[in-house]
Amino acid sequence: MSGAPLLEVRNLRTHFPIKRGLLQRVVGHVKAVDGISFAVPPRKTLGLVGESGCGKTTVGRTILRLIPATSGEVLFQGDDFFAHTGEDLRKLRRQMQIIFQDPMSSLNPRMTVGNIIGEPIVVHGIAKGREKDDLVASLLGRVGLDPSYSARYPHEFSGGQRQRIGIARALALSPSFIVCDEPVSALDVSIQSQILNLLQDLQEERGIAFLFIAHNLAVVEHFCDEVAVMYLGRIVEKATSKELYGNPKHPYTKALLSAVPDVDPRPKRERIVLQGEVPSPSNPPSGCAFHPRCALSREAARQAGVAETTEIKVGNERLRVLAKCVTQSPPLEQKEGEPGHVAACWVSR
């Protein structure tokens, strides 16, 4: 992908303090996002995948300043977004919107649909009165809802319809960038495809760039131009969608891809069953955070000299892995394959 990015994230960190005791002393930090960088070009979609607790949602919210960042930069159209305040910030915010996962809890149950969609239009001084109503009606029409619905309340709608209302609200200010945080995972299968197609049409029509956060790998592959895989607050691999799925490099990506059940009763893929669970982000493993679960490191240790390996304890087992994986954090670097295919792994080439 070439050209100036619409949004650039540089070394972003979001740490949450852990407070204990009567005095609420800070005893540690949950490193929800721990130094990640990526760029989203205009009119393109970057997918962010990972398991629960990997920090993908926090990334989306930190970028929009819904959660304060601990450090790092977000450049929007080359401009430092974190440096703005007041009216300035409000203007920039028109450009950046979000669609939430749960369409029930993200729509105010006491507001009519017309007010939910109309409020940002009024707040940002884009239109009011009749003009605003017309705008709301056209937005509703665009997302496939009857414009007469603007007098109704969210509870009167099904999950899919509510997600359409959420999308109409995000579109109200004609943004150029939208964070889609699990936009279809709360929806029924037959409705998911309707919403995905709608988002795709809107992207083509209005030239919107998406940061698409999801845990469903098949949906991400289908929807995104480029995909970044997160594990414990970091990006472990990033490539174009086709390259990542066809030629995964990081052992975590491989395991994640192989864990997706095949929609075929005669499976062709080999399954890697990862043992154990994602460690806690408040106390991530040293070096490469994936090393306690990594088969690749163990295999490499079998072929390497004893000096290059070290023994670790996982559960009740003692395992031998590459020493480097335990002591040093691997950089995100170019791997064999398409230019731009990066992964953070000491072993994989």
Binding site: E51, I191, H215, P261, V263, I272, Q275, A295
Partner: protein, 352 residues
């Protein structure tokens, strides 16, 4: 042909509401054989969970009413049993695991208390004997250090671990049938793979029958022997897993397959099923799928006559007027005894 372990015959369930009765289950026929997995697939509100709850008689009456039908389990009709007889079957012969392991475990009791309660109730064991069984049950589901874990509370465990505890509890009394209602929906894919692998292993060891309720066609493909697809309170298509995935004939099943993005497939615009699942209070007339169906034609058949399940092929039932040969197909009660040939998800166990 072996006898089915569980057979649901023409089950009709209604819920009384202030706006009249709704019918969450209509004319449902299902058969589950020992050692086999029947997957019941459908979207929210299609009646799959209500069917499962009916088997265990877990629906409060009222509002639930059993209008008609039988549920045969080992020759006895569960709908005719009294509450005390039902209680001796629940948990012992038929066990159930739920989607959300946090809300289905009691937060103020330890894991041990909860498993031991089931063991004491159904097997009459207590004290040391009961905790030995509970420990073994935890070990069976792959929980390390089971003796220590027995003293822990649900909040001390992760989602995957809690689901293992649920499974351990459900299986502690060696049930013949396990009803798993969306057992992995709340879990991450890598944990889902672990749990499904575990269920397959335990099923094989114990020749247990599983009724797997899910909306995920990938989970169905890898775990089921036979499949029943439900739409608007009815089974609309049922067949062996291979047959259903190779040759779906009902337009709803067909639409579902086309509308899901598949890993590794070429990028293209997804096919969609237009419209939404109908509200049970306002079901359309005739075939309940007709307003969304692309096979609808000019005549009135689809909108006025609701099609019944017919055996359109061997071991393959469907209900649609527009299937070739439907008009002449026999109306028989679906019952599929089938074990899939390929062992799904032939896994290479990696990692500690």
């Amino acid at each position: 042909m072996p006898e089915p372990l569980l057979q649901v015959r023409d089950l009709n369930v209604a819920f009384e509401t202030s706006r009249g009765d709704v019918r969450p289950v209509r004319d449902v026929n299902l058969a589950i054989y020992p050692g086999q997995t029947l997957a019941v697939v459908g979207e929210s509100g299609c009646g799959k969970s209500v069917t499962a709850m009916s088997i265990l008689q877990l629906l409060p009456k009222p509002p639930a009413k059993y209008l008609s039908g039988q549920i045969f389990f080992q020759g006895r009709d569960l709908l005719q049993l009294g509450e005390s007889e039902m209680r001796s079957i629940r948990g012992k012969d038929i066990a159930m695991i739920f989607q959300e392991p946090m809300t289905s475990l009691n937060p103020v009791y330890t894991i041990g208390d909860q498993i031991i309660e089931a063991v004491t109730l159904h097997q009459g064991k207590s004290g040391r004997a009961a905790s030995t069984i509970a420990e073994a049950a935890l070990a069976d589901v792959g929980i390390a250090d089971p003796a220590r874990r027995l003293g822990e509370y649900p909040h001390q465990m992760s989602g995957g671990m809690r689901q293992r505890v649920m499974i351990a509890m459900a299986l502690s009394c060696q049930p013949k049938l396990l009803i798993a209602d969306e057992p992995t929906t709340a879990l991450d894919v890598t944990i889902q793979a672990q749990i499904l692998e575990l269920l397959r292993k335990l099923q094989k060891e114990r020749n247990m029958a599983i009724m797997l309720i899910t909306h995920d066609l990938g989970v169905v493909a890898e775990n089921a022997d036979s499949v029943a697809v439900m739409y608007a309170s009815r089974v609309v298509e049922t067949a062996t897993v291979e047959e259903l995935f190779d040759h779906p004939v009902h337009p709803y099943t067909e639409g579902l397959f086309k509308s899901i993005p598949k890993l590794g497939a070429d990028r293209h615009r997804l096919d969609t099923i237009p419209g939404t699942v109908p509200n049970p209070q306002r079901f359309p007339g005739g075939c309940k799928f007709h307003p969304r169906c692309h096979r609808m034609q000019g005549d009135q058949t689809c909108s006025s006559v609701e099609p019944n399940l017919r055996e359109v092929k061997q071991k393959h039932w469907a209900s649609c007027h527009r299937i070739d040969g439907y008009q002449t197909a026999a109306v028989t009660v679906p019952s599929i005894s089938h074990k899939r040939q390929v062992t799904a998800g032939a896994a290479t166990e990696v990692s500690a």
